[in-house]
């Protein structure tokens, strides 16, 4: 049997997990629900809540609940959850762990690998953070694929004729647009563009601001400081948005929001679709501009597009369909479920990687141009930071390009290699994503050749190598946002922290079935040991971690005698620590 790799759509507001089973793509339901809201909370007992229950708790305990964590991925900040600070990776890991458990329960075996989707326009740091979230959750992220591409893959597998398609993907927090060619079972992305901080959350925010202003004007109270009332307003705004997708008016009623100077504050207001659409018009226009950029990137005109595929819950907003109709002259497709198709595409890609036959193969592109800076000319003037693009946007992945540079002056021993992402001829106007020095160059005249190789992998992550041609002296880095990045040890610690939140039962969870009593016993010991990690010296912790690793490899290799031996050692340490 092939090992199981699950496909995960880790969304801003909703997440899903899917697999391919007997050639059919299946989004796995948990309690009959295929959609897991991307909410994480800790209840008053200290237990962890993920999904629906956390979303419900948000109204009562906003300070114990985190939503839309995806918006913070890749940033060096911490969020507060019931008095503890967590990195965005850790919160995302909690959602992933839940999805992993849902899948494990369904397939009745342990799952350790996943394909996770990310917005096409996610930066390197955001991708890295997503990979780390997977690791913390105990999932090896075998591939990250772009969300609009995944949707196209889910749709394109069944297409027999050649089609050119525009994928318009507006989620809770991100926007992507891709132009895709589907032909002979190959889903080929021609161009991609987007905005990684634009989505349905912004629409909610517009309504929220409107409601808050209304309360300020009519009742003279500012609710911005009252987190519970604000949570209710947020939910009301979101509901109004849903209603306005179907109806021309939405009635917003929230009673007993707050007591203010002896008076009870109620909210009652009617919002029309026309007013709402005026509030979000700038956002929609920004997405249409991105559509134009993507079309230009694919060197196509609207007449070349055969179909429009809408992805993401926010595309239910009627004016989006209208604006796209105005651009292209036909209605977007609606066969595919905009909430589920991304997870389905991830599952198809996962099946492909695990060696199953699938009817569509994917060729994706990078939405970014990557390059370096060199001494040169800008607008005919001498300029030390001229941008030299090396991998151009919309090139197929994976990709590897090498450019040769020469040293500027005699006896130059050091070159500074700076890597940028962007299109501007002035490198300083682009985003600097990494920098390193190549030192100890040979003492020769100017013109010493240094080659610079940029390698962009299938996950959209960049690796950079610089080499002095004459000597082979090489220096390389993998571009990761150094600040947001977890060191290996930190990842390990985060994993234990998150495991502990889930409690011991969860960590053994669905895995134990069909296992020998020795293994079950050993797993209990491991859970016990992990629970003690916080209270022990780092020396004891390291000993335990080594033993745990040993035990796990014994289980994998089926070495029963050695397993018992090692487990006994671990039991000793636990006994010693507990006494």
């Amino acid at each position: 049997m092939n090992e199981i790799i699950i496909g995960i759509d880790l969304g801003t507001t909703n997440s899903e997990v899917a697999i391919v089973e007997n050639g059919q793509v299946l989004v796995i339901a948990d309690n009959n629900k295929k959609i897991l809201p991307s909410f994480v909370g800790i209840d008053d007992q200290g237990d962890i809540l993920v999904g629906e229950s956390a979303r419900n708790q948000y109204l009562v305990y906003p300070e114990r609940t985190v939503k839309s964590i995806k918006r913070l991925m890749g940033q060096d900040i911490q969020v507060n959850l019931a008095g503890h600070a967590y990195a965005p990776q850790e919160i995302s890991a909690i959602i992933l762990k839940r999805l992993k458990a849902i899948a494990e329960q369904y397939v009745d075996q342990a799952v350790t690998k996943a394909v996770i989707t990310v917005p096409a326009y996610f930066s390197d740091a955001q991708r890295q953070a997503t990979r780390e979230a997977g690791e913390i959750a105990g999932l090896e992220v075998v591939r990250m694929i772009n969300e609009p591409t995944a949707a196209a893959l889910a749709y394109g597998g069944n297409q027999l004729e050649q089609k050119r398609m525009l994928v318009y993907d507006l989620g809770g927090g991100t926007f992507d647009v891709s132009v895709v060619n589907i032909e002979a079972g190959v889903v080929e992305v021609l161009s991609s563009h987007g905005d990684n901080h634009l989505g349905g959350d912004d629409f909610d925010q517009q309504i929220i601001e409107h409601l808050l202003d209304h309360l300020q004007e009519t009742q003279g109270v500012d609710l911005r400081q009252h987190s519970k009332a604000l949570a209710r307003i947020t939910r009301a705004a979101e509901n109004a948005k849903f209603v306005l997708s179907e109806q021309p008016y939405a009635k917003i009623e929230e009673e007993y929001l707050l007591e203010h100077q002896g008076a009870v504050i109620h909210l009652s207001l009617e919002l029309s679709r026309i007013d709402y659409e005026a509030m979000i018009e700038d956002y929609i226009s920004a997405t249409i501009d991105a559509v134009h950029i993507a079309m230009k990137g694919a060197k196509l005109t609207p007449a070349d597009i055969d179909e429009i595929l809408l992805v993401g819950g926010s595309t239910r907003t009627p004016c989006i369909r209208e604006r796209l109709y105005n651009e292209f002259g036909f209605e977007p497709h609606s066969e595919v479920d905009p909430d589920l198709c991304v997870a389905m595409g991830a599952a198809i890609q996962a099946a492909m990687i695990s060696g199953q036959e699938v009817n569509a193969v994917l060729v994706d592109v990078t939405p970014y141009t990557y390059g370096t800076s060199a001494i040169g000319y800008l607008n005919d003037d001498y300029y030390p930071f001229t941008y030299v693009p090396i991998i151009h946007k919309n090139t197929a992945l994976p990709n590897r390009k090498t450019e040769a540079f020469v040293t500027h002056h005699d006896g130059q021993e050091v070159v500074n290699v700076t890597i940028y992402q962007g299109e501007d001829p002035d490198a300083l106007n682009n985003i600097k994503i990494g920098e390193f020095l190549v030192e100890g160059l040979q003492d020769v005249e100017a013109g010493n050749v240094i080659t610079l190789t940029l390698k962009l992998d299938l996950d959209g992550m960049l690796h950079v190598f610089a080499q002095e041609k004459a000597t082979g002296l090489e220096k390389s880095i993998t571009i990761k946002n150094a600040i947001s990045r977890f060191e290996h040890g930190a990842l390990e610690t985060a994993r234990h922290r998150i495991n502990k939140l889930f409690g011991q039962n969860e960590t053994i969870g669905a895995v134990v079935k069909n296992e020998s009593p020795e293994i079950v016993e050993a797993r209990k010991l491991i859970a016990k040991a992990e629970a003690l990690f916080d209270k022990t010296s780092s020396e004891d912790k390291e000993d335990m971690m080594d033993l745990i690793e040993d035990i796990n490899s014994c289980i994998e290799a089926g070495l029963n005698d050695r397993l018992q031996e090692t487990a006994a050692k671990l039991a000793d340490i636990i006994y010693y620590l507990e006494s």
């Binding site: 080929e188 890609q349 492909m352 990687i353 193969v361 060729v363 994976p398 990709n399 299938l458």
Partner: protein, 112 residues
């Protein structure tokens, strides 16, 4: 070193759409997710010869053994305007008429 034509297994006289179909077939059999190197080779072969303009550039600068007659035929019959310079076109023409006059980077022919 295989030529892009050999990698995609197409004739030098192949049309754009034949080349595209051959490329898609190859990609289907060698998805980027399974074999990075092989895919990159296939993709860059396709980029090199995907249309008449790129085929001409490749022939003029990197592939002196090209079938210039076929290229010239295609150049004349294509509906799209040629995106090569007059100079390149001139060379192409001359190469097609008499490959002895074709002097770019082919020691084998120039020593005749």
């Amino acid at each position: 070193m295989k030529t892009p034509y050999e990698i995609l297994e197409v004739a030098e006289q192949a049309t754009d759409s034949e080349i595209k179909q051959a490329y898609l077939q190859k990609v289907k059999l060698n998805p980027p997710a399974r074999n990075h190197e092989r895919f990159q080779q296939i993709h860059s072969a396709y980029e090199t010869i995907k249309n008449i303009t790129s085929r001409e550039k490749y022939a003029l600068f990197n592939y002196p053994e090209a079938d210039f007659d076929a290229l010239l035929d295609q150049a004349f019959s294509t509906a799209q305007p040629l995106l090569i310079s007059a100079d390149h076109f001139d060379k192409l023409l001359r190469a097609s008429i008499d490959d002895k006059t074709f002097l770019i980077g082919n020691p084998k022919k120039t020593t005749v």
